[in-house]
Amino acid sequence: MKPILRVRDLEKVFWVNKRRQGILGSALSLVAPQMEKVTAVSQVNFSLEPGEMVGYLGPNGAGKSTTIKILTGLLVPSGGEVEASGFVPWKQRQAYVAHIGAVFGQRTTLWWDLPVIDSFELLQAMYSIPAERFRRNLREFTEMLEMERFINTPVRSLSLGQRMRADLCAALLHEPPLVFLDEPTIGLDVVAKERIRQFIQKIHQERGTTIILTTHDLSDVEKLCSRVLILDQGQLLYDGSLSALSQRFDGRRLLAVTLANPAEQITLEGVEIVSRDGPRVTFSLDGHTHDPAALIQTLLARYPVTDLEVRRPELEVTIRRIYEEKLLQPAGQA
């Protein structure tokens, strides 16, 4: 299948005015500015098949928003090529944006003083959405996002969660095949986050929408994306499945067992006990050298057990280790 989004050798360089020290320095900066080159994004390559949902991850300042701004046509890159839904985003911006949806969690696209429904109707006019299709989508999204209660409320009076739901709806009413979601769950409580995740999942599955999701909340990515792109210091470090990532960088497993007999002594060859609390024993094992399934079989054969649990380390810990310990090298240099 032809990719819906193709990014090749993307590069973005900013020139920033380097401030000099002191009064004389700042006067000098005004007359003869010393420009400093800052590379925000470099050598980024990837492509998306229609219907994919990928997580775009990276620490603050990694170049995520720069990339998203380029891909949505807001920013012109310094080098490289992008083809999205058959458009070059920054060259054909006005035509292109009719074919994408974008939600920037920190901002709203809705009209502050208008009831939510009025904003939707304005967007209908702006995107020239046929009346029948608009009604159908609005009905469906209103139900899925439970917006009946606040659809006639002015946007300024909405809670953050309500506003975010309305913004998601606004970005999807024209049925874009390609959608950019930048921090769509930021600042929300657990329930609101979950509701938004379920909605994204449903849109992705039922409509085959291609979605790029940037987020700080890795549980968003864990629940929604099978593929992740990891960016750090402007370079793409990883492009692949989430499970392969945690397998590769954190093979450790925690095995917690509750013994039927609290007094029983228990040992497993080559496996370390990290804690023992009465009948509850926790082992730590390396998934690369031990086969967890075989170990569990041995354990069950030897000891009567009432409860058993295998835990993976948190994804968040893994990702943080990747950034901090520089476990990954930019693709193409490794």
Binding site: T66, T72, L75, Q94, V97, A102, R107, L122, M126
Partner: protein, 268 residues
């Protein structure tokens, strides 16, 4: 065509939300309309004692002031989306990006983002001053004159609008230099309220060849009031206004588009 329909819809939103506070709106319009008008009439009182200024009667000066005030009130109302003071925060807080994400002409969207109906006050003030001027110094109306007056006002609106757009575009580069533009807008309308004869040669040259305000209000007024041209311009000079306006707007829109290109390459 689609842009025009959208502009009308954006306008109706603006009007609806501004009419929510009807009473305060009316008070505002009336107070700016009547109170600011008194300023002119106190000046007029003084001028009257001297029988006018540089060969212009008080009624004729009132004509200049009235037309310029009406036009500027309209500009401020229609082009308030291009007010640099509100546009600059819009860019910094990312609202401008939101506009760029919509498949609608960006100029139409910015124009539709604000419409200060309250400026009716200033327009009302202009109407009162103009009416006073016409009462003091009756114009000999011909069909051509009555058709040309709205054209003159529209031309002033378009040229001032162009200066608004120019000033707003500058905010893509800097916030500090915008004050200079305010001198042209708020200063320009004050300047146009007086006969050009009172200004020094250098000033007059500036307002003829650099920012050609002289053709926007002064020369048309000579035509309406049947006065002779002291500066020896071609007889067609009173009719330059629409041309100057079109050229100014063309230039401003070109600069505006260039500014957006710059914004899209720096992101700031």
């Amino acid at each position: 065509m689609r842009s025009l329909t959208l502009y009308r819809r954006l306008l109706s939103i603006q009007l609806r939300s501004q009419m929510q506070y009807r009473m305060s709106f009316l008070m505002d319009v009336l107070s700016t309309g009547l109170l600011n008008g008194t300023y002119f009439f106190s000046v007029a009182l003084v001028l009257n004692r001297f029988g006018g200024v540089v060969g212009w009667t008080v009624g004729e000066v009132a004509f200049l002031v009235g037309v310029a005030e009406i036009a500027f009130g309209l500009t401020d109302m229609i082009f308030s989306g291009f007010d640099a003071d509100t546009f600059s925060p819009m860019v910094r807080q990312g609202q401008f990006d939101q506009l760029l994400l919509r498949p609608v002409n960006i100029t139409v969207q910015v124009l539709g983002s604000s419409f200060l109906l309250r400026r009716l006050g200033r327009i009302l003030q202009g109407v009162i001053i103009l009416a006073y001027g016409l009462w003091m110094t009756p114009v000999v109306w011909t069909a051509a004159k009555s058709l040309y007056l709205p054209v003159v006002i529209a031309s002033q609106v378009v040229l001032m609008g162009a200066i608004f757009i120019f000033g707003t575009t500058l905010t893509f580069w800097t916030i500090e230099r915008v004050e200079a533009v305010n001198i042209l807008t708020y200063g320009g309308v004050e300047m146009m309220g007086y006969p050009m004869d009172i200004y020094s040669k250098g000033m007059r040259r500036f307002f003829t060849y650099v920012v050609p305000f002289i053709f926007m209000n002064y020369y048309p007024a000579l035509y309406f009031l049947g006065k002779t041209d002291p500066f020896g311009f071609p007889a067609a000079a009173p009719f330059f206004a629409p041309l100057v306006a079109a050229a100014g707007m063309g230039l401003a829109l070109w600069f505006w588009r260039w500014g957006i290109t710059h914004y899209q390459s720096t992101g700031s």
